[in-house]
């Protein structure tokens, strides 16, 4: 099998091949490392490569699998982590000069779970600095590029996760999402990412941006792969005060159940036309996706988008207040260590009052009730994942994100599970994503709908030319 064929297998396919002895964990790992060597010079996905560790883990996985010690679907599969997941003794930079040489002394709970499942760590991935602001063009590490067109942004903040998956440099990744940071790069890079319900996955050992909005979650090249990864990292963690003690179902069990009779809510009115509105090409691709869903037997229900539109103000207010509170001492002592984009946005939090923050948290109560009320009318919601195609780096307007609706941040405010799945391309062969949002702790429903759509289309099988 050629390097590119091997590197673009899904986790589910690679896992089956390992057990059929078609290849070994060492071959998978070497294929990824070779491909990283070939292409990462122009994509800048990796901040830190853990080559020696990866080879050691691959040898161990090979030995274990040969001797019948099977740890499950992720055993022997090379993965990579957004560089805000704390890794014991391995540099964790958050793509910032502030932490450029930081070596954590413990692993994030999710990292421990991946290790216990036998995953192989290839390295740590580039991101937006501290998961905020725009592409980090003035950080000590270069900004990640979009494999579909390196002149364009890959979306953030989990940029390296999206780009490395699209380029076939790893099989799975963990991102984090405070306002869309898993779903936006998934959309812009043509891969799948799920922000689970708040509390479903431990945040312990994930460097915070905004405690009450941060979510950890998986990204991969297929819906099934995201289900595999979420199965491993989900579950109650006493070390995370927001962790939910809720049973974790088998996320792959209902993947093939179809969507006949499912009611899909489309909150178009009073939201999609906010400010400049959705980009026409993005909306065109989205409307085609809705037709496919109808052909699969779902019923579309147009619902009022006003509460979703209002969510942005509360989300942004909470985010900058909590982010500034976390970094306050660093801003007082050495503000120059932060890049321009993150500094400009985080410092807004220094000028908001306690009453501003509490007003946003009160609005959160109201909007949470209104948005969850939607599920008395429909089973799931559908929106574009991002309001526009990926911008070119050159001439990028930092205020652009405020000029169009945000389809992602209402679901950080409400904590609802939301998945992005590839749904087509806009001009210039740039990917677009379709987002499904389910009721709390119903990730299985989101996976079922996303899987039905994915299997009915060919978008997820497209690969960028590098």
């Amino acid at each position: 099998m050629q390097q590119s064929d091997l590197c673009f297998l899904t986790i589910a396919e690679a896992s089956r091949g390992l057990r059929r002895k078609e290849y070994s964990p060492i071959e998978l790992t070497n294929a990824c490392l070779e491909r990283i060597g070939d292409f990462d010079g122009k994509l800048h996905c990796f901040i830190t490569l853990t080559t020696d560790l990866a080879i050691k883990q691959a040898k161990q996985a090979e030995h274990e699998l040969r001797s019948g010690q099977d740890r499950g679907s992720l055993h022997g599969i090379p993965i990579a982590l957004k560089d805000l997941y704390m890794t014991n003794g391995i540099r964790t930079t958050c793509h910032s000069a502030v932490l450029a040489n930081w070596l954590p002394d413990y692993d994030a709970t999710t990292v421990t779970k991946l290790q216990d499942a036998g995953a192989i760590l290839l390295g740590k991935l580039g991101m937006h600095e501290f998961a905020f602001g725009g592409p980090s063009v003035d950080a000590p590490f270069p900004a990640v590029r979009n494999p579909w067109n390196t002149a364009h942004i890959p979306g953030g903040s989990s940029s390296g996760s999206g780009a490395s998956l699209a380029a076939g440099l790893c099989y799975g990744s963990l991102g984090s999402d405070t306002g869309g940071s898993i779903r936006t790069p998934s959309s812009h890079c043509g891969v799948v990412g799920i922000k689970p319900t708040y509390g479903r996955v431990s945040r312990y050992g994930v460097v915070p941006l905004s405690w009450s909005l941060d979510h950890a979650g998986p990204m991969a090249r297929s819906v099934e792969d995201c289900a595999i990864l979420l199965q491993i990292i989900a579950g109650y963690d006493p070390n995370d005060p927001a962790s939910a003690n809720v049973a974790v179902p088998n996320f792959r069990l209902g993947l093939n159940d179809g969507i006949k009779g499912l009611r899909i809510g489309v909150p178009r009115a009073n939201w999609f036309d906010e400010n400049l509105g959705v980009h026409p090409q993005t909306e065109g691709v989205f409307n085609q996706a809705l037709e496919t869903l109808e052909e699969l037997g779902a019923t579309l229900v147009e619902i009022d988008g006003n509460p979703f539109s209002l969510a942005r103000k509360a989300n942004q207010t909470i985010l900058v207040c909590e982010a500034y509170a976390y970094h306050e001492k660093r801003f007082q002592e050495a503000p120059e260590k932060f890049g321009g984009s993150v500094r400009r946005r985080m410092l807004e939090g220094a000028f908001l009052s306690a009453a501003d923050y509490i007003a946003a948290q009160r609005v959160r109560s109201v909007l949470n009730a209104q948005i969850c009320q939607s599920f008395s009318l429909v089973d799931i919601l559908a929106t574009p994942s991002a309001p526009r195609p990926p911008d070119p780096f050159e001439g990028m307007d930092p205020n652009e994100q405020n000029l169009r609706p945000s389809f992602t941040n209402p679901f950080n405010l409400t904590g609802l599970p939301a998945i992005s799945v590839p749904c087509g391309f806009t001009d210039g062969n740039l990917p677009a994503g379709l987002q499904f949002v389910a009721p709390p702790f119903e990730e299985a429903t989101a996976f079922r709908v996303a899987y039905a759509y994915e299997q009915a289309t060919e978008w997820h099988k497209q690969r960028p030319t590098l």
Binding site: N239, L310, A314, T317, R343, E348, D356, R364
Partner: protein, 65 residues
Amino acid sequence: MEREITLDNLRTTAQRAGLELSDDELQRLLPGVIRAKKQAGELRALVSLDTEPAGMFNASRVTRK
């Protein structure tokens, strides 16, 4: 009523917060702060007096660790 945000009162607020920021930097921050304050002001219109914030303290959670 919210008072107008100017470079001068931004400088004063920054100093009170222990931040040493140049006038150039404060000037760059000003539009974002004005937008953020306006946005936060608009939030007040969306809640009634009896609405409590999300994430209220819950004593039962203190013993969870």
